[in-house]
């Protein structure tokens, strides 16, 4: 059998797993691994400028491809810098393997230089973690790490490797396991046929149905199956923030995103529904508003790969269905085709009439309410972005008002097209995530929708973009304030802007972009917006930083009224639902 060092084993394991690209930052504890990396050519390494970005970039890569993202960081500060990235991936169930170095085994526990208890630090934010205790176990640990990361409900797995486990002088026999079997980990592969039947029976009884689809549909590659069943039934579909793209955004059956900043028609439809079909969604607090007042008349079918997501917050689930959404939905469609029952068409058309009424009255896509001649409205920036990119770009968002506008006004027709930190809400996610997306899709347009607050949290990555020629387009919605914080301060704190403004100290983003070798553009006039954006996307090989000065006073609406039900919303600065 072949003899390899631990460092070589790690690289070979990555090759065996089909990994083409990893994102990392070297340091003392991982130098042996880096030396092994240098001496092979199956895996390309992208040197980021901060470990947080290494994990976000791997995360963006994973979100856009469905493959496992991989990062490599050193011990101590390298590992703790990775923590925000790992937590981000954990909250959104993104498959990652994060390899962290640690001090040599004999120094562990002695407060050695650059030592940190990585296994302890990351415990609450990983799907699982491994501390490598012998060189011999590296192949099986790596195999398990990838298996756990991508199967069941995906998530990040940390492999912590003490430096002595990778020493080039210590060679051991290497054989990569072909399969993995763990008695303690057996995720469901199919749904229960009886429950599927019950779910269908309930769905077919519906008079006012809503399909509520979440990130699980995207992660489970089930968009096609979801669309098939939605089309077969003719029911309205709403997507969560994480589920955008699971059902085509430009389809008439799509009634918009739901939740805290969801569409009026989506939130109303949920509240009035008699049957809700929840697919790969987890009844998050940003969706349900007050769970006690959540959809009082609805009978609910809930499909989820994770049993713990079922009945966690909303308790009245009539038909729980544990399983991966793809095969479950496929089985449902097949069973439906064999059944001799159709949905109640009269009830359904009445229901659509009601929904269309809501749409006409308060729909965000109805009319031209956000086009202004005196200032640039953020909503209009997103709509222009949609037009200029023909609805086909990858949109990587940061966190805040711009994120909500990007969720509301770009119509995502494809799953994995919308990349954002939904669960953790990590500012600084957008740019590094976009790097991972761009490297995975070199021929596609990748836009970062961000604000002057978020972008400054990982702005050092503009340098990485230069090094590896990643021509992402940065759409900076500049309102010279932490917009979402300011919005809450307007609404709940009497307009006292505690620590949310910094207008006089913002950098000149155009010069900043130029300093990194990129193109910078400034846009202040609404009439120039479209032309400048076209110019931006025409520069195919360049990073372009569009610094767009938007109306600083704009708020995101609708906004659910805290402690209320789904249907209780603030609709504008002057209107709210009764």
């Amino acid at each position: 059998m072949e003899l390899l060092s631990g460092g070589e084993m790690i690289m070979r394991a990555l090759k065996e797993e089909g990994v083409k690209m990893i994102f990392g930052y070297p340091g003392g504890a991982v130098l042996h691994i880096y030396d092994a990396l240098y001496q092979q050519d199956a895996v390309e390494h992208i040197l980021v400028r901060h470990e947080q970005a290494a994990v976000h970039a791997a995360d963006g890569f994973a979100r856009s491809t469905g493959e496992v993202g991989v990062s490599l960081v050193t011990s101590g500060p390298g590992a703790t810098n990775a923590i925000t990235g790992i937590a981000t991936a954990y909250m959104d169930s993104i498959p990652l393997v994060v390899i962290s170095g640690n001090v040599p085994s004999h120094l562990m526990g002695t407060d050695a230089f650059q030592e940190t208890d990585m296994i302890g630090c990351c415990r609450p934010i990983v799907k699982h973690s491994f501390l490598v205790r012998s060189i011999e176990e590296i192949p099986s640990v790596m195999k398990k790490a990838f298996h756990i990361a991508k199967s069941g409900r995906p998530g990040p797995v940390v492999v912590d490797v003490p430096k002595d486990m990778t020493a080039p002088t210590e060679k051991r026999p290497f054989e990569y396991p072909e399969t993995v079997k763990m008695r303690s980990y057996t995720p469901a592969l199919k749904g229960h046929a009886g429950q599927i039947r019950k779910a269908l029976d309930l769905l077919l009884e519906a008079k006012r149905p809503v399909i509520y689809a979440g990130g699980g549909v995207v992660l489970g590659d089930a968009a096609e199956e979801l669309t098939a069943i939605a089309k077969r039934l003719g029911y309205p579909v709403t997507n969560t923030l994480m589920g955008l793209g699971a059902f085509p955004g430009s389809d008439d059956q799509f009634i918009g995103m739901l939740g805290m900043h969801g569409f009026y028609e989506a939130n109303q439809a949920m509240h009035q529904a008699d049957v809700i079909f929840a697919v790969g969604a987890r009844f998050d607090d940003r969706v349900t508003n007050n769970p006690k007042k959540f959809c009082p008349n609805a009978r609910i079918v809930h499909i989820d790969i994770d049993p713990a997501s079922i009945q966690k917050t909303v308790r009245h689930i009539e038909v729980p269905l544990v399983g991966p959404v793809k095969p479950v939905l496929a089985d449902m469609v097949e069973m439906l085709n064999q059944m001799d029952v159709e949905p109640d068409q009269d009830a359904l058309s009445a229901w659509w009439e009601t929904i269309n009424g809501w749409r006409e009255k308060h729909g965000l896509w109805t009319g031209d309410r956000f086009t202004r001649r005196d200032k640039i409205m953020p909503q209009d920036v997103i709509r222009t972005l949609y037009e200029v990119t023909n609805g086909e770009a990858f949109i990587c968002s940061d966190v805040g008002q711009h994120q909500m506008f990007a969720a509301q006004y770009y119509k995502y027709d494809q799953p994995r097209q919308w990349i954002n930190s939904g669960g953790l809400g990590t500012m600084g996610f957008g740019l590094p995530a976009a790097m991972g997306v761009q490297l995975a899709h070199p021929d596609r347009h990748v836009a970062v929708v961000t604000g002057e607050g978020s972008i400054q949290m990982c702005i050092e990555e503009l340098s990485t973009c230069t090094q590896y020629n990643m021509p992402v387009k940065i759409i900076n919605l500049n309102n010279a304030a932490l917009g979402m914080v300011k919005q809450w301060q307007d609404m709940q704190y009497g307009g006292r802007y505690a620590a949310s403004t910094y207008a006089d100290s913002l950098p000149d983003f155009v010069k900043l972009a130029q300093a990194y070798g990129h193109v910078g553009m400034i846009v202040t006039d609404p009439s120039e917006l479209k032309a400048k954006m076209e110019e931006c996307f025409a520069m195919k090989d360049r990073v372009v930083f569009m610094d767009i000065y938007i109306d600083p006073d704009e708020h995101v609406y609708p906004m659910q009224i805290p402690t209320g039900s789904m249907k209780d919303m603030i609709l504008s600065k002057t209107e709210r639902t009764k």
């Binding site: 296994i119 415990r123 699982h128 973690s129 303690s184 980990y185 049993p307 713990a308 966690k312 308790r315």
Partner: protein, 163 residues
Amino acid sequence: MRHIISVLMENEPGALSRVVGLFSQRGYNIESLTVAPTEDSTLSRLTVTTIGDDTVIEQITKQLNKLIDVVKLVDLTEGEHIERELMLIKIKATGAQRAEVKRTCDIFRGQIVDVTPAMYTVQLTGTSDKLDAFIDAIGASAILEVVRSGVSGIARGERVLSV
């Protein structure tokens, strides 16, 4: 309501910290916790007693099951079961009190396992309630030290928790 949850898990370093961490992270309550390897040295059995309503207990069992190191678990309080806790207790025993402590100990079927002229060390097993009752009967002023093992439990009848 009080529940006794019995967990079979991989006897791996760090497995216990994942279980304990889960409870603190999600705000679940731990009344007592015991853990030791089983006859199969690759498996540990952990018993945790906790208090919570149905929603909380359902989440606890589901979240425990999600831990990769957890092989199987059972909520013993869902069925007939036996629960036992071991207590070692040092009690002042001088003068007339000495005979009284011995009598109380006999009533509770405890054993005196260590003796000095001034104290007894008593070993007592039983349900947690029984141990509580013994402590009450002795009275706080006579107690020098108490150590309790936490609850271990097993289902009655032929139901077994094994891989």
